[in-house]
């Protein structure tokens, strides 16, 4: 496990990952959580899962450990669109709606609790 913000084998840091992803994702209409304590921690943990599995598995879901079996939870996960549409946030809280961020600017609020849409059958026992 790495200390907060330390660069990983890939040389990526949470900040460089954010700078890389932000313009790409905003162009698609997805915004990082304005609550930096969430966003930076989640980006850090994506670098941990990348180092562990070889791909950025959602840090808040149990990965199976193979690319094929985890394709639906590789960030951005297959459930992001539905979750952001319904709850204004994805399951882990990294991506939120534009409106949610605008409200956060007015008054800090905790990220919504989003139920996990993933079919438990996708978890290999």
């Amino acid at each position: 496990m790495n200390r907060q913000g330390e660069s990983h084998a890939s040389g990526m840091t949470p900040h460089s990952l954010r700078n890389t992803l932000q313009p790409l994702q905003e162009a698609k209409g997805y915004y990082f959580n304005r609550d930096d304590s969430m966003t930076m921690e989640l980006l850090e943990q994506l670098l941990v899962t990348k180092a562990r599995y070889g791909y950025m598995a959602c840090p808040c879901r149990l990965a199976n450990g193979t690319y094929e079996a985890d394709k639906d939870i590789i960030c951005p996960c297959s459930y992001r669109e539905q979750d952001v549409n319904e709850f204004e946030a994805c399951f882990c809280g990294l991506y939120v709606s534009k409106e949610w961020n605008e409200r956060w600017d007015q008054e800090q609020q905790s990220t919504p609790v989003v139920p996990d849409r993933r079919d438990p059958g996708n978890i290999l026992l």
């Binding site: 921690e41 943990q45 840090p59 808040c60 149990l62 609790v113």
Partner: protein, 85 residues
């Protein structure tokens, strides 16, 4: 009256699990936890079967109140507040 020791099934990389641990620690709620993503082989299978028994979705955090108590899924402060000693 003895306070129940909650059982937290978590993932070491999950921010909601981390917030749950922080909440339980800061409110001195007794608990034990297991980071399921760090388990391997039979230990993983065993703990996953436990989680599935409480939460068929096998999502995290899953918090179990012992002795047939409730199961709390996700970081839900207002539900955890009931167990503040």
């Amino acid at each position: 009256m003895a306070h129940p020791v909650l059982k937290l099934y978590a993932l070491s990389t999950c921010i909601h699990c981390r917030h749950t641990k922080e909440y339980l620690n800061s409110h001195h709620i007794p608990y034990e936890f297991i980071d399921v993503d760090l388990q391997e082989g039979e230990a993983r299978d065993r703990v996953l079967a436990e989680v599935k028994g409480y939460n068929p979705n096998m999502s995290f955090p899953t918090i179990v109140v012992p002795d047939g108590g409730s199961v709390i899924i996700g970081f839900q402060e207002q539900k955890l507040a009931k167990y503040i000693p």
